[in-house]
């Protein structure tokens, strides 16, 4: 073989070897120094249970006590009111029997102006919807889109929302959802969207729940990392979890609903 051919051949061989080596490195899995964080849905502490409204009926007619059996647990006739995370739950959580009044960017500030088509109905506001459809359970999840606003005003709006719902649907069970944390990277950007503010607001929501005697649920222990931020491997943009987590979140909501309502 001529020398120049040999050189060419050798060079080609070297380059092929290099590409092969790079492919090996590229597909090598990460070597983790620390044990893997506990999988989602394990080891989370249950959130404190607010005293449930009385659902069991013990009717007494003089001597005999009649116990009316509780209806079977069901998520049928439930309504979710919320922002883009509620949209995510709607699209990816496969919750049967649930209806959704949700929109990207929704907040208590713009809720009044929203006109959404729920189920097969025409577009209408939340107020109109609640006036003509009775729900058994109503879930509220908003706050992140107004976290930069004047907090006392926002809290007051949320309180008024709960009171309005109680007024329109006195038989419904209401579940206020805590707002999801953002990831550490997003948090460290240093603007109004940060976990300290979210925690402050969630605490206010918890108080509203106590005062109005409705339920409060906080999913954050499921998705938090050690710094109480949304796990960075669970999110692409630091604010919304990947779609695959919405199914787990949905399951958690159902399980937590059962737990808090004594099922």
């Amino acid at each position: 073989m001529k020398k120049s051919h040999f050189v060419s051949f050798l060079s080609i061989l070297l380059m092929v070897g290099l590409v092969a080596a790079l492919m090996v490195l590229w597909t090598m899995p990460d070597v983790l120094d620390d044990p893997i964080a506990p999988p989602l849905l394990d080891g989370a502490e249950p959130s404190p249970v607010t005293p449930p409204p009385v659902t069991d009926s013990d009717a007494t007619d003089g001597e005999n006590t009649v116990v009316i059996p509780r209806p079977e647990f069901t998520m049928q006739n439930s309504l979710f009111v919320g922002d883009s995370r509620a949209v995510g739950l709607k699209e990816y959580a496969a919750l049967e029997g649930v209806e959704w009044f949700c929109d990207v960017g929704m907040s208590s500030a713009n809720l009044g102006g929203k006109s959404i088509a729920v189920g097969d109905r025409e577009k209408m506001s939340l107020d109109e919807l609640l006036q003509n459809t009775q729900y058994r359970k109503i879930y509220l999840m908003m706050g992140i889109n107004e976290i930069g606003n004047h907090m006392p005003t926002t809290v007051q709006k949320h309180r008024e929302l709960v009171e309005r719902i109680l007024q329109l649907q006195p038989d419904a069970e209401i579940f206020i959802q805590a707002n999801l944390h953002v990831s550490k990277i997003r948090n460290d950007r240093g603007d109004s969207v940060n976990n300290a503010a979210i925690d402050r607001f969630n605490a206010q929501l918890s108080e509203i729940a106590e005062q109005e005697r409705v339920y409060y649920m906080d999913v954050n222990p499921i998705f938090d990392d050690a710094t109480h931020s949304l796990r960075s491997d669970a999110t692409g943009d630091g604010v919304h979890p990947y779609a695959k987590h919405y199914a787990q979140w949905g399951d958690w909501i159902v399980a937590e609903t059962r737990r808090q309502t004594g099922y």
């Binding site: 120049s4 597909t27 120094d33 990816y92």
Partner: protein, 465 residues
């Protein structure tokens, strides 16, 4: 500073051009140099070292050029030394961060926190510096004696950050003397505005779809949505880079320079070979002129040609980014080009329909290797593109592709339209009528500025260069 940003358009440009146009001609290079250095300084404010590195290279390259010109005996030594220094700096700044993060990832209990930052424009000014020295070395032209003129060549802000890669002979004359003709200035301004529109009104919005697909997570997207996503990326990367190059050309005209064209309707290509003569043209020229031909090109026999092609394409991949996927993308391109050259290229040329269909698939598929850096994510994405096993074509959210089609369909139409020659022919006609052109440009500028002000997404993909 990014061209498509309010500080650049509303502050830097007006202030700079006020000085530039009012200065007597003999001082314009000084103003241009100062303006470009300010431009670079603002961009490297987080890592001041990068600024000094840049200035050092300007002076160094100018000095080496002069030495090569003067010393017959040592010119090879000077040249080799300078090129090596450039390459060491480029490799160091481009890959050291990646190397460290890979060591952290793969070596147990190895955890080094290390970040020297990435000097903006280093990939471009390194290549321009090397091209200058190579041309002086082989006697294509004489070394530039004026440090000022050379500094302007290497640093002029319109082509510093993202190209086009300009060789010295392309601007040599204009460096000496240029007059600012009002018609040329306005033509340049219009060109700049058009490029801005391509980036802000097409690339950025359609890029949002690809971002959303990533935020959903590839395991949760349907097959139609996966294809929509990768086509969105395909349009984003084109209009991003094409828009930026057009802005550079426009600014060049305003300054009095002719910046070479960098794109020639690449998505109309019928083969990958043709594509790389139409995409990032100045990069292809650089590799051909300074690597491929010096290695022998295609004149030294088949084996050597294959070797030369391999070298060029691995280096091209390497140049594009710090990550395995970029080099492997280069390797993939080599394989495709090899097959076109020696196996089936003729069919693509002879039957245009086959060529276009072939590229319709190959372009987005090859970009997916460019767009997704991790091997596991890329594999996952491919199972969504080709859902023949396991999950099947649908996701939990059955109507996902419908939802996003509703939101993005018009951007795809615009993207396809602006990939053809048609809108540019129309633009040529509009240029002749001032009463059409000015409202059109004003609209593009106005809407672009509005989008920038509102902060709609702006990832400039090629900015890592």
């Amino acid at each position: 500073m990014v061209f498509s940003s309010l500080p650049f358009i509303l502050i830097f440009l007006p202030v700079f051009f006020l000085f530039y146009t009012l200065t007597p001609a003999r001082l314009r290079n000084v103003i241009l140099l100062l303006g470009s250095l300010v431009f670079y300084a603002v961009g490297s404010v987080t890592y001041p070292v990068h600024f000094f590195l840049f200035v050092a290279f300007i002076v160094f390259d100018w000095w080496i050029g002069c030495r090569i010109g003067k010393s017959q005996k040592y010119k090879k030594a000077y040249f080799v030394f300078a090129v090596l220094l450039h390459l060491v700096a480029l490799v160091l700044f481009k890959y050291v961060n990646f190397a460290v993060s890979e060591m952290n990832r793969l070596i147990p209990h190895f955890d080094l926190v290390f970040n020297i930052g990435f000097p903006i424009g280093i990939s471009f000014y390194t290549f321009q510096g090397i091209s200058y020295l190579a041309d002086v070395y082989r006697g294509k032209f004489e070394a530039e004696k004026s440090l000022l003129r050379f500094a302007v060549y290497l640093s002029m802000f319109e082509q510093l950050i993202a190209g086009p890669i300009v060789t010295y002979d392309q601007v040599k004359e204009d460096l000496g003397e240029r007059r600012i003709l009002p018609s040329r200035f306005l033509d340049g301004l219009g060109t700049f505005i058009f490029g801005l529109g391509l980036k802000v009104l097409i690339a950025n919005p359609i890029g949002n779809l690809w971002t959303e697909v990533g935020n959903i997570g590839y395991e949760s997207i349907s097959t139609p949505l996966a294809w929509m996503g990768i086509f969105a990326f395909t349009f984003q990367i084109y209009f991003d880079f094409f828009g930026y190059s057009v802005m550079a050309i426009g600014l060049g005209k305003m300054l009095g320079f002719t910046i070479p064209k960098n794109f020639d309707h690449p998505y109309l290509s019928r083969s990958m070979t043709e594509f790389w003569r139409r995409w990032h043209i100045t990069l292809g020229s650089w590799f051909r002129e300074y690597i491929y031909i010096p290695l022998g090109g295609n004149r030294a026999g088949k084996l050597a040609t294959v070797r030369n092609l391999m070298v060029v394409w691995l280096l091209t991949g390497l140049w594009h980014g710090d990550g395995y996927n970029f080099v492997l993308w280069g390797a993939l391109l080599f394989v495709i080009l090899f097959l076109e050259k020696y196996v089936y290229g003729k069919i693509l040329d002879r039957v245009p329909v086959i060529g276009h269909l072939y590229m319709l698939l190959l372009i987005p598929l090859s970009w997916s290797l460019f767009a997704i850096e991790r091997a596991d994510r890329l594999a996952l994405f491919f199972t969504r593109l080709f859902p023949f096993f396991g999950q099947g074509p649908w996701s939990q959210f059955r109507g996902d592709w419908l939802k996003y089609s509703e939101q993005y369909w018009y951007l795809f139409v615009i993207g396809i339209f602006f990939s053809t020659k048609l809108p540019y022919r129309i633009l040529e006609k509009i240029k002749k009528c001032r009463w059409l052109l000015i409202p059109f440009l004003a609209a593009v500028l106005g809407v672009s500025l509005y989008c920038l002000w509102r902060g709609f997404n702006d990832p400039f993909l090629y900015f890592r260069f």
